[in-house]
Symmetry: C2
Subunit: 270 residues, 2 copies
């Protein structure tokens, strides 16, 4: 007969755990001294204790273990318990993996954004834009409704997103409630999802400018950009583009004064 301390060393169960298992009735001492209340365990109780250790390691709850120990004494009888528990653990593993993956995605997005706004030039520039794979959702509405397009395309493209959100504007003018526009993302690979238009978006010579601050004041940056187009006698080609290098984040909205948006208008010289 072992007192609780020795039995604890043998079974690698803490003294408190042994007392708890006694209380819960899944591992009752073989003898309890009436005067002192000391618990004593027989050698033969070691098997039961190690079975409990193994079942706990499989994350069976104490009450499930009670159920198992009450009715069964052979491995082959509890295969169905194992099967159920396996799918429980499987789900948990997958769930944690999904969460991990989502955080990883978030980190990537933030990092990409940091890189892109690193050392951008605030002057109006003429530059050549590369072709890119782009997935977008086109609709007619108010300018601030574009968020739903990002959400739609974002869900569909997931890990294939390769750059910041963009909006394409098909009208050559300002329209308060019925602007024709398309929100989406550049991708690393083509996708084929109904309702989403994924194709190669052609680049070319473009006039661009960086807008810093909230979207309300974006008109002033367009003014600078179109001034240059006129002075250089270039012809704008629509859709024009807005690229949200840094906008509201995934967790925090952030301070709009720190938002960074690139405006791009492809031009044609006749």
């Amino acid at each position: 007969m072992y007192p609780i301390g020795e039995f604890s060393l043998i079974t690698r169960l803490s003294v408190k755990a042994l007392r708890y298992y006694h209380e819960e009735g899944i591992l009752v001492p073989d003898h309890v001294d009436e005067d002192s209340g000391y618990r004593y365990y027989r050698k033969s109780s070691i098997d039961r204790a190690t079975a409990i250790v193994k079942l706990r390691a499989m994350e069976f709850s104490v009450s499930e273990i009670r159920e198992i120990l009450l009715h069964h004494s052979d491995d082959s009888e509890i295969v169905s318990f194992f099967e159920r528990q396996m799918s429980v653990l499987d789900e948990k593993a997958k769930e944690y993996w999904r969460m991990r993956d989502s955080i990883s995605n978030t980190i990537d997005t933030i990092r990409r954004s940091e890189k892109m706004i690193n050392g951008v030039d605030d002057e109006v520039l003429v530059k050549y834009i590369d072709d890119m794979i782009f997935a977008g959702y086109r609709f007619t509405g108010a300018y601030d409704e574009v968020g739903k397009a990002f959400a739609k395309v974002g869900r569909a493209a997931g890990r294939k997103i390769a750059g910041p959100a963009m909006t394409l504007y098909y009208d050559g003018e300002f329209r308060e409630k019925d602007a024709d526009m398309e929100g989406g993302f550049p991708l690393s690979q083509k996708i084929d999802i109904p309702g989403i238009d994924c194709r190669v978006l052609r680049g070319g010579k473009a006039v661009t400018v960086i807008h810093r601050g909230s979207y309300e004041s974006i008109g002033k940056s367009y003014e600078r950009l179109f001034a240059r187009i006129e002075s250089d006698r270039m012809n704008p080609v629509y859709p024009s583009r807005e690229i949200y290098l840094k906008g509201p984040g995934l967790i925090f909205k952030g301070n709009p004064r720190n938002y960074v948006t690139e405006l791009q208008v492809i031009v044609r010289e006749d």
Copy 2:
């Protein structure tokens, strides 16, 4: 200003959760009526609430969220929190996967054992045994020390184990304390681990018998087996084999009366 119920619908946080976040100071109502104690939230608090929802979905604790919200208001500032949390979730996912895998292994082992004892013949038989890949650990000692060999080989071979535990006996006689024996498992693939001997174990014509019950009475089954070898004038080739078709389980020891062991002695006819 929204009362708590409306704010709950907007943010998809339960009323109780909102009260708890108030108590914990991470989401304080914008106004609390002094008389009634009613909580009211401004529209501008929705962003903070959705940030909390997203951080909770990443399994940040409430106190971590308090820390984050106290000092930060832009995604780019909390990348290090994300990185730490990602590795935490990564570990959890892997841990659950290991547990899942271990249960899956346990199930496979039990199933295999059930299959093998299904319809075995209790008579002494002469049959041909196939070659097999076998990994074993050979040592000299008492018969009941073979468990350590199974543990050693089992850890090394893991998923490659393809059948029940076996012992090979190299002495042609009974030896109480210094038997020369080897414990191990048949494998599906060769392994190369120092200290463990993995090779093809040759089969051949053999005399076999099934022993049912505890190992203490195994002598009687050997008696039947050797009686047949003698009566048929065959010559035994060592090592002989014991195959534990059903022995103590991974969780329960089970009842020794239900143990099933196959004894095999390869024979040569001159």
